[in-house]
């Protein structure tokens, strides 16, 4: 067999899509920061700029979702299974945990407001942990 030891085309393509997803995610995080703090730091309560920045954030978010789909499609069948299982777990935890968190706030059990950021952190961490556990399972 030729090309001994070289990484497969699949791995090269997957790496390319992973880099693309990382760039889109970074852009999205930066656009969230701009939308959240820009009016406090730069342009004040200018509604036109706020709307444009939020639309930009939304557009970049759509780009990130498309990059995520392309990344998932580029993975081989086992890695797709690993990622989809991890996504299922984090989605389930986000719904169940998010509702519980919201009810803790609604019933005043917690002394602070339930923020969406808490759910985002839960999604991110649960996805990361379940991905690592699933990857280990197939080693």
């Amino acid at each position: 067999m030729d090309n001994k030891g070289q990484s497969s085309d699949k791995e090269k393509k997957t790496k390319k899509k992973t880099v693309s997803l990382a760039i889109w995610t970074l852009l999205w995080v930066l656009s969230v920061a701009l939308a959240a703090f820009g009016h406090e730091l730069f342009w004040g309560s200018n509604n036109l700029i706020n709307t444009l920045v939020i639309l930009l954030n939304f557009g970049i978010g759509i780009g990130m979702i498309i990059a995520n789909i392309k990344h998932l499609r580029e993975l081989d069948e086992m890695l797709q299974k690993v990622h989809l299982e991890s996504m299922g777990i984090s989605l389930g935890l986000a719904v169940v945990g998010g509702i519980s968190y919201s009810m803790l706030d609604a019933t005043n059990v917690i002394p602070f407001d339930a923020e969406i950021a808490g759910v985002i952190v839960l999604i991110g961490l649960s996805y990361l942990v379940s991905l690592l556990i699933n990857l280990r399972r197939y080693k």
């Binding site: 067999m1 791995e11 086992m78």
Partner: protein, 64 residues
Amino acid sequence: MKNRLKVLRAERDWTQADLAKALDVSRQTVNAIENGKYDPSLPLAFSIARLFDKQIEEIFDDEE
């Protein structure tokens, strides 16, 4: 599911990366199949059989 993938690969002196490249999958997937941790889909099993010029049942054994 048991399989003879590791033996067949070794007979040809291929690395897992070589086999992964030939099958257009990741090296992790080849490793998981060889270790019996992951059962390939039917299309991938056919690709493996075609690559080694064997019948699927000559490579995979469905007995646990």
